[in-house]
Symmetry: C2
Subunit: 200 residues, 2 copies
């Protein structure tokens, strides 16, 4: 998923960094699309605004996320991108990317593979969000993200981050983990979760 894994070198070199203040607009609905953005630091949110001025958030990008990949294939943006915090973005210019894809089918394929993986991932997360029970959500998360041994999950960030990922409040997650631990369903070590026997 990391951008380096699929962006061709030539395009990489042509990229440009830009710094945004909190609240600053990166692009706006109807504007000409410039290329693919990678969020380096900070947060940027994509919003769509309806005729009455109500806005709906499409996506809140975190560092490492890529913004507006669909805009590579359309001439105009379909939403607004606004920095939520001060942020740094990197722009990979559209002509460079598309030209590279024409020239090198390998590059195109790498890009497709990355997108396909993202689709799978997102679908999985969506499925996870359909689970009502916090405990089942954690369980499923563990099955899905287990390491090679099939029962250890290493946490990428803080528990708070995990809670957000799971669509729970951090309090709910703490409680759920505490409950599962006391019931002997999991064990915890710093930065890791171990699945033990589950009995339903």
């Amino acid at each position: 998923m990391a951008i380096e894994s699929w962006i061709p070198h030539s395009v990489r070199k042509a990229s440009i960094e830009r710094t945004l203040q909190a609240g600053q607009t990166l692009f706006r609905t109807g504007g000409r699309t410039k290329g693919l953005y990678e969020l380096v630091s900070g947060n940027v949110r994509l919003v769509r605004v309806d005729s009455t001025g109500r806005e709906a958030v499409l996506f809140v990008a975190a560092p490492g996320d890529t913004l507006a990949e669909a805009s590579l294939f359309s001439a105009r943006y379909h939403c607004d991108a606004i920095a939520l915090t001060s942020a740094v973005v990197r722009l990979y210019p559209k002509p460079a990317i598309l030209a590279e894809f024409q020239r090198d089918p390998e590059a195109a394929q790498a890009f497709m593979a990355m997108l396909a993986r993202q689709v799978m991932n997102l679908r999985t997360r969506l499925q996870l969000m359909n689970i009502r029970s916090a405990r089942d959500r954690v369980r499923d998360y563990m099955v899905l993200n287990a390491g090679p041994d099939g029962q250890t999950v290493s946490l990428p960030g803080t528990l708070k981050d995990l809670a957000t990922d799971l669509g729970l409040t951090h309090e709910a997650l703490y409680r759920t983990l505490a409950g599962m631990t006391s019931r002997g369903e999991i064990e915890r070590s710093p930065g890791k979760l171990h699945a033990l026997a589950f009995r339903d």
Copy 2:
């Protein structure tokens, strides 16, 4: 998103239909990937099973969905696909697709565009699921799916389906809609929702 919009004709012709009984396995983790499946009718679920035998559902495909696009780029499946109901799938063989992408960059680009759109879409739905309040969820859904006039949403299926899409029970959705109607926030006509003035 419809498969006809991006699948090259040559590949289309090479596709094969297959019928599954409820409970039948389409493919299994570790099996050789054959290509891209489109679900024609019925439901198929993708599941991952961990070492202890616990399973987590990755995705439940509905007619029109495409399965395992990521498997186009890997040699082995990473999950099991099992028919939930009796179902019909259409297989687009991997060699045909990949060869076509090599030959015709346009086709490759169409595929990328489709995937990119899917990614946007999925992210948006994920964002929607983060909204706790049923009312806000409906509101956001309406903003996101408003027609050209910016305030009419035509419902693709039944309200029950919509409820599932929104991650609500149908009862909760009915009540929410009833509430919003009585408060004058929306108007309803068969198969359509109209947004009126919202006051928060």
